[in-house]
Symmetry: C2
Subunit: 456 residues, 2 copies
């Protein structure tokens, strides 16, 4: 059965690419209400595809915002059921001027296909569905039962998914969940993530005068909200140790076992030289007392993303702004609770706010850190599949980013989550000229074919 | 002769308003290259007007950027020559949506005329020219000699004026210069400014990574330029005393004589209650050890105007910005040299910059603080003129704002400068719905008629 699927996939590379191109053409930008019809078209295309390849019970399930595509095939001899997760929604395309080819006119150049969503996540989840197709069309059946959950809100933090999973808990019951939505380390070096950091987004607003004032007329008699805000923000992090100074911030950070620490620190693919080249930063630096590999995975961080307000145009404008804002987020590690942490940050900011201004705090979103046991059979089977195709085991790593749905899969469905990345570090995720490496598309399909067989 | 001029002005109120409306229709936005033709039209209109009312030697004098209008009348019996300064250029009109009537369709509502430039400075300098008209047309002559210098670059910092005055020093020689470009304290309370603060504009740029990074992937291994910049900016000013912490910043601040300090502190028109109402600030506050009236006139300040860079849109974006910027300016008092002070600020910022980032400093503009001796006869004559029309002496005040040309008049022409404001505090200068109070237009013309007579 596996060989038939592998043969089918091999013989249908052009067909598989043609399907991917069709999927990539649909501008499913989930954050932009103007793309509502495109989101519907994207969900419709995925549902049609599922029907076409022989999946059953295909359904476009509504949520309060963007729909989820469901499908299944439950006739396997093995009792094992794999839930395939992915998202058909994509990031916005700004700045559009920097794209070399239009983001929704998929363009193959050399080994890469360029389009918004090529890697994140259309190209990646599609490899899993293409493995399903290879089995169903090449062999007439699958070695395991599969369920499909392709959502349309991942790029905006999956706001509907908690209620949706709670409501449809039975339907999505499974023995493992596979998520194909992260990079490999290099075209020949597969990587499996077994953790994500959490995050919490906080916007702090400092209000001074009721309206913008002329800095000549009124300079010296009112607090300038930016002057105040920079002093408050400067108290969030120690300049030398880079420790976050919010009281209680580290209280719930779970220590790392020595064995895991050794694995993290010993990862030969993480080095200051590699990071220097990837980031172009003047210096690789961070929290005192921790290695670079730890700082980007098992330690929390705090970043200022931007400071809206005041005058930001060219040249000068002599204004005392009425309002200064800062957009902040923090990355969190087990067992930090993002809802608790954001309250700690907010309380601290309110406490250090000086008189003469009004400080208000807005929360934007939060997600839990999650660690998965990578010794589970469903993980080890995935690793064997990579080995079969790439000739080497996957490097096991904790991810530095966040994936809100992980926490809900873990707490609502209580199913092991297996993360199998097929992207590359230079895929330009969320940026202009996003691409997907086509050899990874074809080898990814093969990897998934092996994976299904090993799970059986 | 004076009575004939006063009669002429009184009988020609409608005519004077009609002329003002024509002048206000021309969108002389000096900062915007697209308005180059409008600038030329504005200069042309002023020159035509000068010819029409009987001034001689009218000339549109080119500068590297926008032209100056020159005119004179040198046939007075008195040897006294007054140089009339003003500017026909105006600020941009953004945000255009907030205007209740189009900015270049002058609209009279009640006692006010609404238009960009109504108060700053077309309406104000035009009162002085209208007094000239009243004499020349009503009496056939002026009691003093006058020269006219109306420039087109004031709103962009008069970049051409230093070279221009140096080049044409002889032509602009005079016994006093009158500048009509500041507010009164209330419709019945004239004010004369005898000083301006200087300023220096500094933009600091902190560069971290070569491009924006994902804060999940790279959070913890590079310096975030905003995290760094807020810590640097926080070290510019003491949070409690509000003293500026740049070494040497206060070294050249000239102490105020006791008599002047008493006048400043005793000014009944400056109070925390008035400022609270004008600014809507939570609290009137500022540098420790100085009264409110001192802080807004004889003490230097430092303001952050805005912090470009990073993500400033709605919602969240998990980015470590490549670049963070801050637009800063400082208001300066005698004898602070703006070119020296901006070097001090830049040196300090470079010194406190941590490793891991690149800090660069850009200078945007600078102007000198200037104090004029308000006991000079040309000042006292102006005060008498106000008294004649408004029934009370002008309040003598140091201004908090800056006027770069003051320093050049003082150092190049070496002539006493008399500042006679006719605006009002709520004229919405540089803001939507700029207006000029028409009773001040008519009474301002009368005041200038008296002023010319007193100068003779």
């Amino acid at each position: 059965m596996k060989q038939q699927a592998l043969d089918y996939a091999h013989e249908h590379q052009a067909h598989n690419l043609a399907d991917l191109v069709e999927l990539l053409k649909i501008p499913c930008i989930s954050t932009d209400p103007q793309h509502k019809a495109d989101i519907a078209a994207g969900a419709g295309w995925v549902a049609d595809y599922c029907r076409r390849i022989g999946l059953n019970n295909v359904e476009i399930m509504p949520t309060p915002l963007h729909p989820v595509v469901y499908a299944d095939w439950m006739q396997a001899e093995s009792p094992f059921t794999l839930l395939i997760y992915g998202h058909y929604d994509v990031q916005p395309v700004d700045p559009i001027d920097l794209w070399h080819t239009p983001p929704f006119e998929p363009t193959v150049k050399g080994d890469d296909i360029f389009a918004r969503g090529a890697s994140d996540d259309k190209g990646q989840f599609f490899t899993v569905l293409k493995a399903v197709e290879a089995y169903l069309q090449g062999a007439g059946k699958l070695p395991i039962n599969v369920k499909v959950l392709i959502e349309g809100e991942e790029e905006i933090g999956s706001p509907s998914i908690q209620d949706f999973l709670t409501q449809h808990k039975e339907r999505f019951s499974a023995d493992a969940i596979v998520i194909c939505d992260h990079p490999m380390l290099a075209p020949d070096v597969p990587m499996m993530m077994y953790a994500v950091r959490g995050d919490a987004h906080i916007e702090v607003t400092v209000r001074g005068p009721a309206h913008d004032l002329h800095s000549g007329t009124f300079g010296g008699v009112v607090e300038n909200p930016f002057n105040v805000l920079v002093r408050m923000l400067a108290q969030l992090q120690d300049p030398v140790t880079h420790r976050i100074l919010v009281p209680g911030f580290y209280d719930t950070v779970r220590p790392i076992a020595e064995a895991e620490k050794a694995m993290i620190v010993g990862n030969p693919f993480v080095s200051d030289a590699v990071l220097q080249s990837a980031t172009g930063a003047v210096q690789i630096t961070g929290e005192e007392g921790y290695s670079t590999a730890e700082r980007m995975s098992v330690r929390p961080t705090l970043e200022i993303h931007g400071m809206p307000g005041g005058f930001t145009g060219n040249g000068t404008k002599t204004v005392i702004p009425s309002i200064a804002r800062a957009k902040i987020s923090t990355r969190l590690v087990p067992d930090q609770n993002p809802y608790h942490i954001r309250e700690l940050v907010a309380d601290y900011l309110r406490k250090i706010a000086p008189p003469g201004v009004e400080v208000s705090i807005q929360f934007h979103g939060a997600s839990y850190p999650v660690v998965v046991d990578y010794t589970l059979p469903a993980y080890q089977a995935a690793n064997r599949a990579y080995q079969e195709v790439y000739g080497r085991e996957a490097v096991m790593m904790r991810g530095g980013g966040s994936l809100p749905i992980m926490h809900y899969f873990k707490t609502i469905l209580d199913v092991p989550i297996v993360m199998m990345g097929l992207g590359l570090p230079d895929d330009n995720l969320h940026a202009p000229n996003e691409k997907f490496h086509l050899p990874n598309f074809y080898r990814g399909i093969e990897t998934m074919i092996h994976y299904f067989a090993f799970l059986a």
